[in-house]
Every structure is written in structure tokens, then in C-alpha cells.
């Protein structure tokens, strides 16, 4: 039985063209962009090309607005701590949606120790942020508001332009975690009115260990790491040239190809959703239409998600994800599923499928068969 990966969100393969492009920076063209000799200058040129490619993907004002990091967690920490601490003189209020990634929520919670105040903005049952609640909570002291572009667990896409208008009318800066959305749907930081945007290399089929924070010209952040002056002091440390060059190339390819690839994946995804929802007591989680094109997420009554994941894997060689407590380190159900109003026992039965380059329409029948059999098997075992 062929492996079918439906968990591209947790890790994505390197695009072979990116691998071919970037490999030389590990071998023949290695170099430290800070060195002044020809090898260093060549490395610096490659780094700046990568920066320009990433800037173009999101229509940033200039390549200088891209700060490279070692990944999404770091970019989110830099956005939250960097912007909040830099602007603390203006106010100490923080807002975030209830469904932000933990790498946004945890640095915000950590700032509570420094006298900041954090309020979490609710979302509706489909995961869309409550704009009226946001408006009511915003004030000039709200130095940072963080709302993700799209959620990785339920696929819901947020009305970022409307959020941005509110934040800029009533508060200060808007941070958007775009890791799950970039490369899947168009992001235009200027049109959307984004001050800080987190990006992931691997989600674009670039190397792991690279990410970026877009910082709108005029917005000031302070570093969270201290060392040399790389990235204009905003993120010191010798640049991971291979990963960043690959990130740039992946961003270039995403810009060229993302519309077509998203349509291709959406057609497969729609086929999966239509058939899987025919299973008794199965429900879509997240928004039916304002949804990432490669993303399908469900919950099934009376069964548990880790058992779904293990059965799909061991019996059908299909890899999926779940927000069940039992599969997490903390044994808490996903905060995202609780935020959309699911009870604990409902959140336990979640299954998430995220599609990628190796998926094709010929796999649909096998995936649906596997899902039906898995649900059937576990319900036969269940006392509920």
C-alpha cells in the first residue's frame, strides 16, 4: 500500500528545484555574509537575493522590511516581544485571538510578568474573529494586536483587512501570523495593512529552520536575541545561508505557481470533504468556504483522534493529524477546538488533513475508504 501523506502542515518536503538551487550554499558556495572577502560578498549577494524574493511574495515595500529568523516560533516571539517592549511607553495592552498559535500566545503570556495586560478575542463557531468584540477591546494603549491570517487546525481564513482597519483606527500595531497561509492564498501586506507578518520557509516547500518577520517600514521592534549586528541587529547570528537561499527560491516558486497549485489541491480537498461528511455524525470544523484551499478538518462523534491517527497510519498507511488531547504533550485538547465552542469530548474526535504536492485525485477513493473503515472500526470498539 502506498503511503499517502495528508499532514503537510506539520512538515513539508523540500521542492527538488529548491534543493538543486540551494545545495551549493552548503558546499561550493558556502560563506559568511558578514565577511568582506569575495566568498563573503557572494554569500551576502545570495542572502539579499533571497530577501528580495521573500519580500516579493507578500508585496513588501522593500527587501529591507524582511528580517530572517530560524523559523516561525522565533519570528512570532520577535514580533510579540520585539514590538510590545519597543512600544511599552505608549501602552501595555496586548490583544490576540483565542486561536493564535502557542508561539504567539506564550510570549504574550510571558509579558504579563512585565506588567503587560493580555485579552484574548473570541471567535465564532467557524473560527472567524469577533470584530465587534475586537473593536470594543481596542484602545490607544493596545500596542500590539495579533491575529493569524489562517488557522492551521481548522483552516479558517480571517478578515485581515477589516481587522487591520480596526487596529489602525483604535489601537497601534497589527501582527499577523501568516505561516499557514503564505503560499496557499495571496498575501499583500500593503493592501492588507499588516505591520508585522510571520512567514515560514518549510510551509513554502523550502528548507526547515528558516522563517522571516516582515516589519513594515516605520515600525520599530527591539531584538530578543543579542549578539552581532546581523539583520540590522534585529536578529543577530550568522545567517543560515543554505536555508535562507532555499527559502527565497521557494518563495519565488510559490509566487509563480501558488494560484494554480491551490486550485488543484482545492479540487481534491472538496472531493474529500463532500464524501467524508457523508459518514454518520461527522462534522466539518472551521469555515466551509473561508478556508485554506489545501485544508480539510473534521470531528467524529464517539471516537478519539489519536486512535483515528494510529488506525489510518497502521492500517491504511495514511498520515493525518488530530487536535485530540491524547496526542498532545499536555494532554489538553486543542485550544482552537475549544475556542470554536466544542466540548472536550467533541474536540477529542478531531482529524485534520492538509494536502500537498504528492496528493492527486486518484488517491481520493482510497482516503475516503480508509476514513470510513477507521471510523467504523473505532465506533465498534466504543461504548458511547
Amino acid at each position: 500500500m502506498c503511503k499517502i501523506n495528508l499532514d503537510y502542515q506539520s512538515a513539508s518536503p523540500l521542492d527538488p528545484r529548491v534543493a538543486e538551487f540551494a545545495e551549493r550554499f552548503l558546499s561550493s558556495d558556502f560563506g559568511n555574509p558578514s565577511a568582506l572577502h569575495s566568498r563573503g560578498l557572494a554569500a551576502k549577494t545570495a542572502l539579499e537575493e533571497a530577501r528580495a524574493k521573500v519580500a516579493e511574495l507578500i508585496n513588501a515595500e522593500s527587501p529591507e522590511s524582511i528580517v530572517f529568523t530560524a523559523g516561525v516560533t522565533e519570528a512570532n516571539n520577535l514580533a510579540v516581544r520585539g514590538a510590545a517592549l519597543r512600544s511599552a511607553a505608549k501602552g501595555k495592552k496586548l490583544l490576540a485571538s483565542l486561536i493564535e498559535h502557542i508561539s504567539v500566545l506564550n510570549p504574550m503570556k510571558d509579558l504579563l510578568k512585565g506588567g503587560f495586560d493580555l485579552t484574548l478575542v473570541p471567535v465564532d463557531s467557524m473560527g472567524i474573529i469577533d470584530l465587534a468584540a475586537l473593536e470594543g477591546l481596542l484602545s490607544k494603549e493596545t500596542v500590539l494586536t495579533s491575529v493569524m491570517y489562517a488557522n492551521s487546525e481548522i483552516g479558517t481564513i480571517q478578515p485581515i483587512k477589516e481587522v487591520s482597519d480596526l487596529v489602525h483606527e483604535k489601537g497601534q500595531f497589527l501582527h499577523v501570523d501568516g505561516a499557514a497561509a503564505a503560499g496557499k492564498i495571496p498575501i499583500d501586506v500593503q493592501k492588507d495593512g499588516i505591520d508585522l507578518l510571520t512567514l515560514s520557509s518549510n510551509d513554502l516547500y523550502g528548507p526547515q529552520g528558516a522563517g522571516a518577520l516582515y516589519v513594515r517600514p516605520g515600525v520599530r521592534i527591539q531584538p530578543v536575541l543579542f549578539g552581532g549586528g546581523q539583520e540590522k541587529g534585529q536578529r543577530p547570528g550568522t545567517e543560515n545561508l543554505y536555508a535562507l537561499a532555499g527559502f527565497g527560491e521557494a518563495a519565488r516558486l510559490a509566487k509563480l505557481e501558488k494560484a494554480e497549485e491551490s486550485l488543484r489541491l482545492q479540487a481534491i480537498r472538496d472531493g474529500l470533504i463532500k464524501e467524508i461528511l457523508k459518514i454518520e455524525e461527522s462534522y466539518l470544523t472551521g469555515h466551509p468556504t473561508k478556508r485554506l484551499p489545501h485544508h480539510a478538518s473534521f470531528r467524529f462523534s464517539r471516537i478519539e483522534g489519536e486512535s483515528i491517527l494510529l488506525t489510518m497510519d497502521a492500517m491504511f498507511n495514511i498520515q493525518v493529524s488530530t487536535g485530540s488531547a491524547c496526542s498532545s504533550r499536555t494532554l489538553e485538547p486543542s485550544h482552537v477546538l475549544l475556542a470554536i465552542g466544542l466540548r472536550h469530548e467533541q474536540a477529542h474526535g478531531s482529524m485534520v488533513m492538509t494536502l500537498g504536492p504528492e496528493n492527486n485525485p486518484d488517491q481520493i477513493a482510497a482516503i475516503i475508504h480508509a476514513t470510513k473503515k477507521t471510523v467504523e472500526r473505532l465506533r465498534a470498539l466504543s461504548p458511547l
Binding site: R302, I303, E304, E306, S307, L310, T311, A314, M315, S324, A325, C326, S327, R329, L331, E332, P333, R343, H344, E345, H348, A380, L381, S382, P383, L384
Partner: protein, 148 residues
């Protein structure tokens, strides 16, 4: 090396669970856990000459919860009730080749369900009084295991 994921034996029991199902009119019945916590187990037994003659289970829960249920039924079958009462959570986990540390508590309720079924039988035959039955199911319901 630290154990990564589930042991082969856990996966084997998870994929091919023994003694799944329901016994109509069982001699003893035990249920522990809580769907809110993600694990609910029930065990049915029939008793012949003070031994567990037949045993079946149904479980809502994760991979280890299902494997634990399957294993405990296999361990208990044919044993005298007193012997079966001596089976501990730790025994079940050891028979399975170990469980990941975070699963040792929340999903390892098989022995509790077995003991609950045996006590239920003892109450029925008048060996013990209902009041003497320590509510083992509380272990799966309270703040102790769920969400900690």
C-alpha cells in the same frame, strides 16, 4: 534510548484487540473514565467456579487506552477473582512492553475497570456491600487525571 511512541505490543493489541464486545446479562460490569477526559472503558465478565469465565470490553479512547483494555482482558481470563483483583495498572503496562510516561495515568484504566466489574459481581452475590465499593471510576473523572 528513550521509548519513542508506542511499543510493538501496544500497537499489536491496538490493531487486533482481544475480547471486544458486550456480554448480555453479565455477572459483573465495570465502567471507568469519562469521555470528557478522552477515555471511557467498560468491562463485562461472567464467572464460573469463582473464575473469570468470559470477559469483554468496549473502550472510547486513544491507542494506549484500547491496548490496555485488550491486554487486561487477556490477563484476567481464566484467573480466579482474587487473582484478578491483584492485577495492577503497572502489571498491564509492563505486559504491554511499557507505555509512554504521559499515558501511564490517563489511559491506563484497564485494571480499574476489571476491579470494578469484579466488585460489581461481589455486590450482586452479597459478598460485599455496595457501600464497600470504592468508586474507582472517580479516578478517571476528577481533576486528578483529566487535564493534568
Amino acid at each position: 534510548m528513550a521509548q519513542i511512541g508506542y511499543s510493538k505490543k501496544v500497537m499489536e493489541h491496538f490493531m487486533n484487540p482481544r475480547n471486544v464486545g458486550v456480554i448480555e446479562n453479565p455477572d459483573g460490569y465495570g465502567q471507568v473514565g469519562n469521555p470528557v477526559c478522552g477515555d471511557l472503558m467498560e468491562i463485562f465478565i461472567t464467572v464460573k467456579e469463582d473464575k473469570i469465565d468470559d470477559i469483554k470490553f468496549r473502550t472510547f479512547g486513544c491507542g494506549s487506552a484500547i491496548a490496555v483494555s485488550s491486554m487486561v482482558t487477556e490477563m484476567a481470563k481464566g484467573k480466579t477473582l482474587d487473582e484478578a483483583m491483584l492485577i495492577t495498572r503497572k502489571d498491564v503496562a509492563e505486559e504491554l512492553g511499557g507505555l509512554p510516561p504521559q499515558k501511564m495515568h490517563c489511559s491506563n484504566l484497564g485494571a480499574d475497570a476489571l476491579h470494578a466489574a469484579i466488585k460489581n459481581y461481589w455486590v450482586k452475590i452479597g459478598k460485599i456491600k455496595q457501600e464497600e465499593v470504592k468508586e474507582e471510576s472517580h479516578e478517571g473523572e476528577g481533576g486528578e487525571s483529566c487535564g493534568t
